[in-house]
């Protein structure tokens, strides 16, 4: 019958593929990352994101000095499944190191563990995989939230109403920044948190959420948006409504710094993302060459990028070449 023929074709195809392929797994000898040909992959959560792009530039600049390095960027498309697929792919292709911004700490744990088991060091950026691995390079998050809380409390004179524009549920960086903010505000009982809503990391969504807040609450003294993009949206919404208030973001992207210069934004916590990317790149080279094995670690070592509080007074201190 025809149907069985079709099934037959498929089976034959699979078997043929299997036979054509030659099995091969060789022992991994330590390479010299500055001389031997090495392949390094960068897998951000979303290639279109400003922070992710800035890291990418930082990594690329660092590797540009070494012609033996093949550097490839992959797009996680904001999906844990896609990231897992690509991780499997990178392991199959025997990359020498993976620089990863995990979409979700738990969801990428299995893949990161598998990579480390195969001798491929995993360097995480900001968003950590929930398994011991070679290294995490991170902006401070809890501390950043805490710093903003102190600044806002100071700004409103320990007395006023605050709204939060949150990160999407499940994003660990957002969770940590917000936790730092909330915990620190507990020491300032005069500052009241009116509401918190998800702005999906996006300017437009931040704008929508802010307009909603503005119609609901006649008195808002300060806004904290978990990233700059949402803070920019909030600033536009407040300006359109003709209301003045303190608005803080976090990250310190180029546009946010401009907004601060123009007085549209009160402040942000700046991290040099070029530098952060470069740091991850250096860690990658270190890990490839070093006699370490991330799968044997019981805890992931962390490198923290120092936070810089930026306001209108201090924004000039961020040099043009460090703006991303």
């Amino acid at each position: 019958m025809r149907k069985s023929v079709h099934w037959g074709i498929i089976t034959v195809m699979i078997v043929a593929l299997a036979l054509a392929a030659a099995g091969q797994v060789s022992a991994q000898a330590k390479k010299n990352p500055y001389k031997d040909p090495v392949k390094i992959a960068y897998l951000p959560d979303n290639i279109g994101d400003t922070v992710g792009a800035a890291w990418g530039v930082g990594i690329k600049r660092e590797f540009a000095y070494f012609p033996n390095i093949t550097y490839q960027v992959f797009d996680g498309k904001l999906s844990a499944e896609t990231q897992n697929q690509i991780m499997t792919e990178l392991i199959n292709q025997k990359y020498d190191c993976i620089i990863l911004q995990a979409h979700d700490a738990a969801a990428l744990a299995a893949s990161a563990r598998e990579a480390e088991k195969q001798g491929i060091p995993v360097i995480d950026l900001n968003l950590d995989a929930q398994t011991p691995h070679t290294c995490l390079v991170a902006m401070v998050d809890y501390e950043a939230g805490s710093l903003v809380a102190q600044e806002i409390a100071k700004g409103v004179g320990d007395n006023g109403n605050v709204v939060i524009i949150e990160a999407p549920p499940g994003a660990s960086r957002g969770i940590n920044v917000e936790a730092g903010f909330r915990d620190t505000l507990k020491a300032h009982p005069g500052v009241k948190i009116l509401a918190a809503q998800d702005g999906e990391w996006l300017t437009e969504k931040g704008n929508t959420v802010m307009r909603d807040f503005l119609t609901k609450y006649p008195k808002i003294n300060a806004v904290f948006a978990i990233n700059d993009a949402m803070a920019e949206g909030a600033s536009q919404a407040a300006a359109a409504a003709g209301r003045k208030m303190i608005i803080w973001g976090a990250d310190g992207e180029k546009k946010a710094l401009q907004y601060i210069e123009q007085g549209k934004l009160t402040g942000t916590i700046y991290t040099n993302c070029y530098d952060e990317g470069a740091t991850a790149a250096r860690m990658a080279l270190y890990a490839i060459g070093a006699e370490i094995n991330g799968s044997k670690f019981t805890k992931t070592p962390i490198i923290k990028m120092a936070p810089i509080v930026v306001t209108k007074d201090t924004v000039a201190s961020i040099a043009e070449k460090d703006r991303w």
Partner: protein
Amino acid sequence: MRQETIRRLFSLLLLSILIVAFGATSKLFLTLPNIFTLLREASVTGILAVGVTFVIITAGIDLSTGAIVAFVAMVCANIFYYTTLPVWVALAAGLLIGAGAGYLNGLLVTRLHLPDFIATLSTQGIFRGLALIIAIRSSTGSISNKVITNQGFLLLGDRVSVVYLVTIAFFVVALLGQGILKMTPLGTHTYAIGSSRKSADLSGINSDRVKKVAFTISGICSAVGALFLTARMQTAIPELGTGLEFDVIAAVVIGGCAFSGGRGDVFGSVVGALFMAILTNGIYKYNLPAAFHIIIKGCVIIIMVIFDSVYHRRMDDRIRKAGKMLDQAAAAAEAAGGGAGGIS
């Protein structure tokens, strides 16, 4: 040749072209680990596609599959985090919830007469929302997904020598699906109501029941996919399976199911799922921009749909021409007989 046969050969041809093209240009492609990797990547989409095949053959659509995956995964994650119940409880709960979710879709479509598109678009939101609600949270109320450590459950994400369990499950589900479709009255009725609902009703088929069964099968398949996906990721996240429904529908359409219903089968959807996985896998090999992937996918779907409409036009033409030939002969006879074709 039948349309189905031509379509079948056509999609197999496309598949072979992809394999040959990638195989010839990338020495990484035709390696054992890679082949089993891409079979693994095809499997979850494929398992879901088996269920959606049923729905699309009834001339319906199921947009809720990705959300059912998230909901089922979340339920399992909850069971493992909060209880020490045995693995089979989690598996059974997952499958039951999948079946229930699918049945709910069926009810909305048959009882409330909602169009499939609207019904499943709504339930997509509902199931995704339920997944968010039951997501495991930290003391401050923010979502904190937990790694599942139940070793029995994690076996589902593992492999037997080189073949991943999920791939085996995929082929079992596909065989079962094809069997139901081709070897049971239910299968015949599925084709019947998709091809011509009114005619099916006139033949005494309970169309509503068939429709409900099709959605339930789709729900169960989503649950099976969810279990394997969860085991592989070793966690459940509320956004799991976002957009997966479109990959699934694409696989089904590439495999030969017509949106107008009544055509296609599970085998085609298997080919469709393999096609998509190979495409993704090959594109990773060259690390082409992600855009390529979607563009090629889109083009292939368009080609398939054009193929269908061209085929139909030619078919109509042929039947019309056949009628004409007979009529010409008749007219000639009538002319010869001096209009004696009628009375006397």
